[in-house]
């Protein structure tokens, strides 16, 4: 027998399974994204740094930031008991291959890969922040308490979005647009990112 929907007696309940599902899939995708980002940078660093040693500090800085994002999302996933994506091993392989492959193609290609990934990720986080803010607004209008968790989540994702967009700027400054098959490369990588995001939300 289906349980009846909860009455509005408890104003502090996070209503609507859709909201819980959104938070679950959002955090799952974010963790998968940061996993991919750390692996891309890890794969790109040795070939890039061996031919362009002056890029070592930049690559280290970007990697360190991604690693901290990754551990932030790992902690959130464990805390909120969210299942990680089943595609974890596949994304590990794909991201390592992508990072290493674009680095072999050259510095500009590696930067173009970073540009493509960070553009997609930046837009993705932006969209999440928008949805979360709308959720918060709706809850406030209904007189419900948002709770510190949601507020914290919104500010965390905003900060991470800003850092990702900073990486995008670094990539563009470092001649990402100079990569030889620029449109093709960024187009394929962006499409791959969108597909991976779609899959990770569900699986």
């Amino acid at each position: 027998m289906m349980s009846t929907a909860p009455l509005r007696a408890n104003p502090h309940e996070l209503p609507n399974p859709a909201k819980r599902d959104f938070l679950t899939s959002a955090l799952r995708v974010n963790q998968a994204g940061e996993l991919a980002a750390t692996l891309i940078y890890k794969g790109q660093t040795p070939p890039i740094v061996s031919s362009h040693p002056h890029l070592r500090p930049l690559m280290k800085h970007m990697y360190d930031q991604e690693a901290s994002h990754f551990s932030t999302f790992n902690a959130l996933m464990a805390k909120h008991r969210i299942r990680p994506t089943a595609m974890y091993p596949l994304w590990t392989l794909a991201a390592s291959a992508l990072g290493w492959g674009t680095a072999i193609m050259g510095r500009e290609a590696a930067m173009a890969c970073t540009e493509a990934v960070e553009t997609e990720i930046g837009g993705h986080y932006n969209g999440q922040v928008r949805v979360l803010l709308e959720m918060a607004e709706q809850m406030e209008k209904n007189g419900e308490d948002i709770g510190p968790e949601l507020k914290q989540l919104i500010s965390t994702i905003r900060r991470i979005r800003d850092e990702e967009l900073e990486h995008l700027d670094h990539a563009v400054v470092n001649d990402a647009k100079q990569a030889v098959p620029h449109e093709l490369l960024t187009g394929v990588i962006r499409a791959g990112c969108r597909g991976a995001i779609w899959i990770s939300e569900r699986v």
Binding site: S3, H12, T24, Y88, G147
Partner: protein, 247 residues
């Protein structure tokens, strides 16, 4: 944008499986309504004598003042009893203070995650001791195709609950392997326990310990092999790099 907030999960049963666990807000309501819970909790004490049957359900209904026909509230019949038992015993695991937050006397080492998993699994098995002589009926009910998804989802939720309560924070592929192996261990041991007549379920305890040991050995071996392969691969790559190959 808000229309995008469609629940990704379709059926109610599955959507309750792993909701986002909020610390600010209470969890979503369980699979049983208040009336159902009242009748079922009154029926549970009748299980040892009447088994997981319709009789136990009607006795429970009459105990709390409902008429016999109230059992029509349960289209799944006796399976609702099984489901309720699984559900309540799973939630009761969090109350094991002596395992989860023990008061340590001087010199006692705290249980690690593995120790807590073993202890909680044993507690859950022992929670079946009152009804174990009827458990094969319950297993038969769970094996029915219409009830199997619910039964499996309760098993996986149990496994998740035990790992979470024990303090596991892994969120990579091992999240899956840990829960899958624990589900298999628990299911096998529970089945063994239905035929165990030893005092205090001593044989079941040993069975459980052997299963955990198996998983530890296999896991350890796989881990070592993976570690060796990783080291060899990375060493080979670094040798090539030191020879000047631009990879």
């Amino acid at each position: 944008l808000l229309p995008r907030l469609r629940p990704l999960s379709k059926s109610t049963a599955v959507s309750l499986l792993r909701p986002y666990h909020s610390y600010d807000h209470p969890p979503p309501p369980g699979p049983f309504t208040l009336t159902e819970s009242t009748i079922l909790s009154a029926a549970i004490p009748h299980i040892p004598s009447h088994g997981f049957t319709h009789t136990a359900l009607s006795l429970g209904a009459t105990d709390v003042g409902y008429i016999d026909a109230s059992t029509n509230l349960f289209p799944n019949g006796a399976f609702s009893l099984v489901h309720y038992h699984l559900y309540t015993q799973r939630l009761a695991l969090a109350k094991n203070e002596h395992i989860l937050s023990p008061v340590l006397k001087g010199g006692e080492k705290p249980l690690g995650v593995g120790g807590k998993v073993k202890a909680l699994t044993w507690e859950r098995l022992m929670a079946n001791r009152e009804v174990i002589h009827r458990w094969q009926e319950a297993l038969a009910l769970m094996a029915q195709p219409s009830h199997l998804p619910t039964a499996l989802s309760e098993l996986s939720s149990l496994s998740d609950e035990i790992w979470f309560l024990s303090g596991d924070t892994s969120v990579d592929t091992s999240w899956y392997t840990k829960r899958a192996s624990l589900s298999a261990i628990y299911a096998a041991t529970e089945l063994f326990m239905t035929t165990d007549k030893s005092p205090n379920f001593h044989d079941t305890r040993e069975f459980l310990d052997r299963r955990f040991m198996d998983v530890q050995i296999v896991g350890g071996t796989m881990g070592s092999m993976a570690q060796w392969a990783g080291f060899t691969g990375r060493a080979g790559l670094n040798i090539l790099r030191s020879k000047g190959v631009r990879i």
